[in-house]
Symmetry: C2
Subunit: 478 residues, 2 copies
């Protein structure tokens, strides 16, 4: 069977993914090493994702703010683990002027910074410095801040959405009076991420704590939401860190307690990024292109009038009217009256993953009916319904599709988790090409043999099993 995307997922998942991005017009590689340009259709998806995440962030009592892009090297250096984690991928600003020298535009040697700046890879340090001034007494706590910004981590093996040198994200930074409060809040934001991915992205997650080996640079505990892509590989889709007093001590975030004593605060940080888009695409899409859950689809419904020369105006008008009625139901609707051929329009919107396609030809117009096809179920779902029926059921249908997409993704995820009892069993599964997550006793992965498997099969510990932390999930990952 011919598919819109070649190769198919089973033929070559990695190439399929690259071609999917082109076919759905989501993004392209930028002329800057490791960076991407997110095209309008891709960015419209991100805007919907961001808007719904932002609501949940604000509902959690967090305020948005905006901190500088550049970080003085000295700040960066104050927390030892942190600098060790990020120094190797730091983009460094060393000059503040360009000059034409020997006919070539280059950094002006007379405008070299005495203290270079790093483009933020994350903002614990610069926000920690501000918090040391903003937090004075227990009355100021908890303080919960977030910013939606771009960050940069120089990337040697970039992959669109999943791993790019520059990426867009939200980074939350909270301060608390006690470790108990901080830890509880790190877990709360972790749960918020898991709920968001379930409800908005229709994406199931495996939520758990990272093992010490995989923690964020400078954290006491890192809680992660891991997703399983259709090829069985893991994607770390979001993390929430209990930073203990690492940053409070490095940046002197102290508060006067109710007991009148000055003491160090406890901080957390939590982040999700455009990387989630990669997960969204690799969880739901198929060999014909993108499949979007209605909650993040720029257009939830596309109406395609199948016109002939003699009825073009009337049919287009009929389609526009129907679009207007659907929009009144708070649905995002596109009526495609461009002069492309109807089959080309159809394939364009299939590839872009619009949840519901509505086709109207001369006969449908006459009968006050439409032919609808669900993107997630494909042509088997094609049926003709009356316009009244469509108007009555469309909002609920969106909810139903959202739910069913989640359920299918969940069933697939469950089929991709395998229990293994020993390292030998694990190796046997990897050797025979079994894909997915492997659940194994955590202490087994501390044996020296496990390092050999990491090396040989490029696997890693994803997170501890939340129900039984003596087990850990192990997988290949993006």
């Amino acid at each position: 069977m011919k598919t819109a995307i070649t190769p198919t997922r089973t033929e070559n998942f990695s190439e399929w993914y690259q071609n999917l991005i082109v076919a759905a017009d989501l993004a392209e590689n930028a002329p800057v090493r490791g960076c991407m340009t997110i095209k309008p259709y891709g960015w419209a998806i991100w805007e919907l994702m961001r808007e719904q995440m932002d609501k949940r962030i604000k509902a959690a009592g967090v305020q948005n703010a905006n901190f500088p892009l550049l970080i003085p090297i000295a700040y960066f250096n104050r927390e030892a683990e942190h600098v060790a984690g990020f120094a190797k991928e730091a983009a460094v600003v060393t000059h503040y002027r360009l000059k034409m020298i020997d006919g070539k535009l280059q950094p002006d040697p007379d405008a070299e910074l005495t203290e270079p700046y790093v483009i933020r890879p994350t903002s614990e340090t610069i926000i920690g410095e501000a918090m040391s001034r903003w937090v004075q007494s227990w009355r100021d706590l908890p303080m919960k801040l977030n910013q939606w910004v771009n960050v940069m981590r120089w990337e040697m093996r970039p992959r669109m959405f999943l791993r790019t040198s520059e990426f867009n994200w939200q980074e939350g930074h909270n301060v608390f009076a006690t470790h108990e409060d901080a830890n509880a809040d790190a877990k709360k934001m972790h749960k918020m991420y898991a709920d968001y991915m379930r409800d908005v992205l229709a994406a199931p997650v495996i939520a758990g704590e990272k093992t010490p080996e995989e923690r964020f640079a400078g954290a006491d505990h890192t809680y992660t939401v891991e997703q399983i892509m259709q090829d069985g590989k893991a994607l770390q889709a979001g993390t929430s860190h209990d930073l203990g007093q690492h940053f409070a001590k490095s940046f002197n975030i102290q508060y006067l307690g109710t007991d009148g004593k000055l003491q160090y605060a406890w901080t957390t940080s939590w982040g999700t990024s455009t990387r989630m888009m990669g997960g969204l695409f690799m969880i739901h899409s198929d060999d014909d292109g993108l499949v979007l859950p209605p909650a993040v689809a720029p257009y939830q419904i596309v109406i395609i009038p199948i016109v002939r020369e003699e009825n073009t105006d009337a049919l287009n008008k009929y389609a526009e009217d129907l679009g207007e009625k659907l929009r009144e139901l708070d649905l995002r609707v596109l009526v495609d009256t461009t002069d492309m051929r109807a089959p080309d329009k159809m394939w364009k919107w299939i590839k872009r993953g619009v949840p519901l396609r509505v086709e109207i030809g001369a006969r449908e117009m006459e009968n006050n009916s439409v032919t609808i096809t669900r993107r997630d179920l494909g042509k088997e779902s094609k049926q003709t319904v009356s316009v009244d029926e469509l108007l009555k059921t469309a909002p609920d249908l969106m909810k139903q599709m959202q739910r069913e997409m989640y359920e299918r993704a969940l069933a697939r995820q469950q089929s991709q988790i395998h229990d293994v009892a020993t390292l030998a069993d694990l190796e046997q599964e990897l050797e025979r090409g079994t894909t997915g997550f492997f659940r194994i006793k955590y202490d087994l992965t501390l044996n020296a043999e496990f390092d050999g498997l990491i090396e040989k099969y490029k696997i890693s510990r994803r997170c501890l099993d939340a129900n039984d932390p003596s087990f850990v999930y192990v997988a290949k990952s993006y």
Copy 2:
């Protein structure tokens, strides 16, 4: 009379502005030269401004996208005027790794970029390169793109919101088939800015074309919206550029016309930034702090329960209930039940410019009444009204305040424009300390004497009079 902000506007406008920003908790200087941190209250204002601008941008048929932060120097260099305009303030990334050398963290000499990058000061070049690939035929035109991003222009004399090395903005970039279309659209976006400032910021503008001396680096025409601050100085609040074929030719943006011929396209760009916030603050605020138009006030109404020990819970609950009812009218309401003293709360929210203050004491609760005070009119407007009356009138009152703030600002602006017939008259006015805009024959400002006045009084040509382009507005500016 004691004022919340000292010095007052008349005593020292520049210091008043700095202190206003502190008093209203809007922002602070960052530990990065020339950069600022926008605090939660300031950022909440920006989010409201951005949201309402974004709606207008989308209504104009523009799509948002996201282009990289870094620009290869070679790109930057392709348009001669453009590089001349921005090379002197470019932040340059030269290394992609840090290394500890002699106990000091510094750029790793082994990780020097062969081709350094510039942090975007604006994105005509990198977007131009993309458009050269995205635009193929007349069917692709017009193409209208916008991005909301941070940019960087190294600033030697920074001033919060008005002039910072890093700032947040929207930059629109449109491509057209003809110069006529491009020019008309540059004017359309220029008008969109003026309308937005009037309707959303309650800020009148002087809208007109820049003289050739003041054009954007690489533009054929620059259309500007200029605002007059309370001290009479000009603020350039937004610009829209007709770029002719400068960038189309430098970046090879060509399209196949309906005539089958390949030809260069015509481009525009248009931008507004967090600088508008500085204008908003300096147009409306007074000696007691910020005065916000309801359309961009994070809280349009603050309810302050004036509690005594015996009625704290009951009164707070009563206030919360009223707050809920007002929120149901789509108003942004804060009920301040913190344990500060009522007068401190009152002054806190006066300084932060909340449009309407609602006070409720024991007697008011008993009578089902409230005492309301408009921030823009001050204590003279204080009156007691029934709760029913408040609920009935509050939404309209917001519209009325928005309108009246605009009208007052417009009247003030008109009083700050002065006609002068000769350069000698202009000098006389400047010499006697007259502030504001001076309207004078444009050709007079082309005389050599005018250069002397520019130098001596730090004035500049702001824009041509839209009603009579033989006249130009001249003023000191931010």
